[in-house]
Symmetry: C2
């Protein structure tokens, strides 16, 4: 039945994303994902998988879970009401400002590290000049 969407167990997702199932359960407890149940077993659908990936990307960016939830929730189908839509646009504007600040910080750090590395390499070259090149 090729039209059916795939599902995953907790172990499969934990394995794929390199987290423990404790972590996934914790994220569910925080309302970040809401897997379906078959009896007591969790069944993860593509939607859950995507949200988990978004959460982990948020973590790589250094956001805390509360802020990650705000971001991830924006990905869901936007609501039809005007006030909600304006609120969502405001949220996006705010998150974008943070992300752009971070990008700026990253670029500055990268260029500074590049400068340090340049000095290191020139120092290394100067040292290599002084000896016969042996190990």
């Amino acid at each position: 039945m090729p039209g059916a969407e795939p599902t995953w167990t907790i172990a499969e997702l934990a394995d794929e994303f390199g987290v423990t199932h404790r972590t996934i359960r914790f994220y569910e407890h925080q309302g970040l994902i809401s897997p379906q149940r078959h009896g007591s077993r969790r069944i993860f659908h593509p939607r859950d998988r995507i949200r988990l990936a978004l959460v982990l990307r948020g973590k790589r960016l250094g956001f805390d879970l509360a802020e990650i939830r705000r971001i991830v929730d924006m990905y869901e189908q936007p609501p039809g009401e005007a006030g909600q839509l304006r609120y969502l646009i405001d949220q996006i504007t705010a998150r974008r400002a943070e992300l752009e600040q971070r990008r700026h910080d990253i670029e500055q750090t990268l260029s500074e590290l590049a400068e340090v590395e340049r000095r290191c390499r020139s120092d290394l070259a100067r040292l290599a000049d002084g000896d016969t090149g042996q190990e």
Copy 2:
């Protein structure tokens, strides 16, 4: 005496960077900064100020203090010994990889949020079309 470098008290730095002095003391305890002492009072030199700024930028990027220390320590005058230089270059390479991953995550998130925003705005426009423009 204009050749002398400026110094700051803990309150001045805390105020300037928007942190508490508890935070600054904690960073000193972690070896991130090492202010000079006058009696028991801390005296902060430009070097300490720079390191504090680097630490806070690292925090904005979501690094934990252990990793921040590794990064900040790279900014100090590189050592003269070849092995140390190579180690430092390796460290820089590793940090750079992380930063570039983060930058990639940020750009992806930014473009996805832009797409959500575009949908929101078009939904809003569609709603505005339907009514008479009143509030």
